[in-house]
Structure formats: C-alpha cells, structure tokens
Symmetry: none
Subunit: 243 residues, 2 copies
C-alpha cells in the first residue's frame, strides 16, 4: 500500500499497476524495466506536458483525423497503463486498434485483447501475417490493420519496428519519453510525454481542432525541432535542479 501523501504517489501507483499486470502476464518483465527508463526521462521534463509536447499532441490529433486508415498499435505496457484512454481516443478518432507485441505469445495477445475489451476498446482480430520487414514474430501484423494503415500511432515502440514501419511508407506517431531513442528519432512525429498524460490530450485535441488548423499543423511538423525542444527542457531542468 503506497501512502497517498507520498510525493511520488502517481508514479508509484503506475509502477504498481504495471507490476500487477506483469503478474497476470499482460506486461513482460522487460516491460517493467523499460517503464522505469521512461520514468527517469519524465522526471527530467518535470512530470508534466511541455509546450513542445503540446504542439506534438495537437499535430498527432490532426494526423489521425486526416488519415485514410489510422491504426493504434497497443503493447502490454500501453494496455496496462492506459486501456481506458485508448478506448476514448478510438472513439473520437475512429482509429482501429491492433495488439502488437515485442515479446509476442498467443497467450499474451489473448490476455491483452481481453483486458482492452474490458475497458471498451474494439480490438481488431484475425490471422497475423509477416508484412513488416523484420525477422520472426516481430514482423507479424494484421493485413486489414497495421498492414493497411497509412498512419500508425505506436506508443512505447521499439526502434527496429519504428524504422520498419517508416520503410513501409507509413506515417508513424510515437509517444516516447526518451528523445534520444532510435524510435524518437525515426518516427514521423514524436510526442515526448508520459502516456497517460498524452493520450487524453490527443483525444481532447481531436474534438477541439478547428477546420484548417490540422492541415497547418501537419505542414509545420518538424520532428527534429520537437526533439531538440524536449532535450532543452531536460537540460534546463538539470541546470536549475539544485536551486
């Protein structure tokens, strides 16, 4: 039991939820360490949505709304932390949701699908095919899902797969707290923000973007600028950290 007055209550609760989902088989043990790495970078942006992340969030909404076939690719950590937030975003964006795992087993796919459905997400099902140019299970996806998508939102993605999706000509939107990661640097658009802050903000933006605003945001998109801005935030926070 984490005391409610603990200064890092939110972060510790997220960690506990992941641990519980790891016991249930939804989250891979490797996913717990990956989450911790994200926490460190979140600490460095002050555990809040920065101004540059807010621009990225608005742009993500614009891209999802203007896509022919947007798909949200969900892994174990995303399902554990933000199943309800995924349902809400699916609702307003009309995106398909496909479960796609780095540590893929049929059992985990089944568990995560059930977990998402329990939170109101409609999850694509079907027979996965090796459509992504990666070895073994990591290249698997659904032909009618990620295979057909022109825009894929992949929170917490692996660098290899992000590169492979880009090579297939898809627009890749990622949510990644580490602006130095290969995923962050390879994606079309990187939201350097924590998942449970970013997803509801994308959902909100989907409902508030005015006609024309979206197109302008997409035209202005400069991911290298967004990453530099995130890094500058981190440097700034480090500079004033001990004051």
């Amino acid at each position: 039991m984490i005391p409610k007055d603990h200064p890092r209550y939110r972060s510790l609760v997220a960690r506990e939820r992941l641990a519980r989902c790891a016991r249930e088989g939804i989250v891979a043990l490797e996913g717990l360490a990956a989450h911790g790495r994200g926490e460190a970078f979140d600490y460095l942006i002050g555990e809040r949505t920065t101004r540059s992340a807010e621009i990225a969030i608005q742009t993500a909404a614009a891209m999802l709304l203007s896509a022919r076939h947007p798909v949200i690719s969900v892994n174990g950590n995303t399902a554990a932390l933000a199943a309800g937030e995924i349902a809400a975003l699916q609702q307003v964006s009309g995106a398909d949701v496909e479960v796609n795992l780095f540590h893929r087993t049929d059992e985990r796919i089944r568990l995560i699908t059930r977990h998402l459905e329990g939170h109101g997400v409609r999850v694509l099902s079907g027979t996965p095919e090796r459509l992504v140019p990666l070895a073994h299970d990591r290249g698997l996806c659904l032909r009618e899902g990620i295979g057909d998508a022109d825009a894929v939102l992949v929170p917490l993605e692996d660098g290899d797969r992000c590169e492979a999706l880009r090579a297939m000509g898809k627009a890749v939107i990622t949510i990644d707290l580490n602006p130095l990661s290969r995923t962050a640097r390879t994606a079309t658009l990187t939201i350097v923000d924590e998942l449970t802050r970013a997803l509801p903000a994308i959902t909100a933006a989907c409902t508030t973007l005015k006609p024309g605003e979206g197109d302008r945001l997409i035209t202005l998109l400069d991911n290298a600028y967004l990453l530099r801005a995130a890094i500058d935030e981190m440097r700034e926070r480090l500079t004033h950290a001990l004051e």
Copy 2:
C-alpha cells in the same frame, strides 16, 4: 545468451539477472522498474564512474572506516545485483549487513538473506522493531543493526527512509544514479554511480586509503557539489546528443 563483446554487455547481463531474481521472488517487480530508471541516468553519465563519483567513493570508504558502527542496508535489487560485492565490502569495512525492504514480507527477507549468505555475506538477524519514524513495516529495523548504527550505507534507497534515517542523526551514504532524487539530496553523501561499479570501488578504497587521508576527505565533503558535478555530466551529454 548475450555475447560478451556486446557494447552494452554489463547492462544487459544486469537486466537478465534482475528478471531471473524477480521470478525467484528476491526482486520485487517494482524493483525492475526502479532499475530501468537507474539505467536511463547511467546512460546520461556515459555508463562509467565519473571523477566526482570517484571522490564520493573515496569519501564513503573513509566514513565507513571511521564509523563507530557502520551498517549496510540491503534491499532486493542490491542483493540480486551485487551479493558478492557486498560480501567483499563487509570483509574490508567490518560493517554489519541488514536486509531492509520497501516491499517487505517475511518470505522475501528469508530469500534475500539466504541469497546473501550463499555469497558469503554475514547477515544480521533478530526481531525487527519500529525504530525508524515511518508508518507500518517501513519503519522496521533491527535495534542492534540500523537502530544502533551511526553510519548507514543504503544503496538504492527510498527518499522517505533516507530522510527518516537522517532525522535519527545517522550519517547516510547512498548510491543513487539520479542526482535529483530526494534520496540523493537528503543523504549525507551521494555516490552517483552504478551499484556494481561503485561497490568494488569502495572496497578497493577501504584497503588503499592512507592514514589521515580519510579524515581530510570527510572534512572536505560537500554533497551539493558532488550532485552538481553529476548533473553537469548529464547536461553535457544531452547537449551533444543529437550531433
């Protein structure tokens, strides 16, 4: 099997060892996330012992050697990653070792004690009492161990407990990769370094410090300076990250 010449061999081996110990119940699942968090900060100091960390390490050795009753407080992650290193440090410093857990259960205490003993650590046993001013199990420690100690080395400690130990008038030495953490800022001395690099370096310093050197290091101790130096290393690395 991770190839020995992999550039991140040490880091990957540590991660595998922790995952194995999590399956055995030694490491709390929350501990895996905490480890990931450390990895991110280690990346930012270049995965090496910095010059300021080296000064902190020498000072830690001096403090342990000059203490009336030094105690090393060991948690699940520390036991999993560095049981042999703890045995060696106990040997040269004469410190007592007490198992003290954030996620405390009798079963984990027992497992960790056995694991440490299997690596040659002499572990204090007894009936824990609530001597640390914290709620519930988190205030538990041994009267003849941490309760009596004037200097406590607590690698990977929680901020609350670090503060509580300081409030009891104890000198607290911590090993924490996050120079911004409450633990890092509350401790008497913070070694911003990775555990399995720092512990053998403290052990080595215990055997090489010359008479008088230790006292001088303790007199010169300025933890705020050491933290600023670690932060400067991280800023420097972020500055050049996208080049």
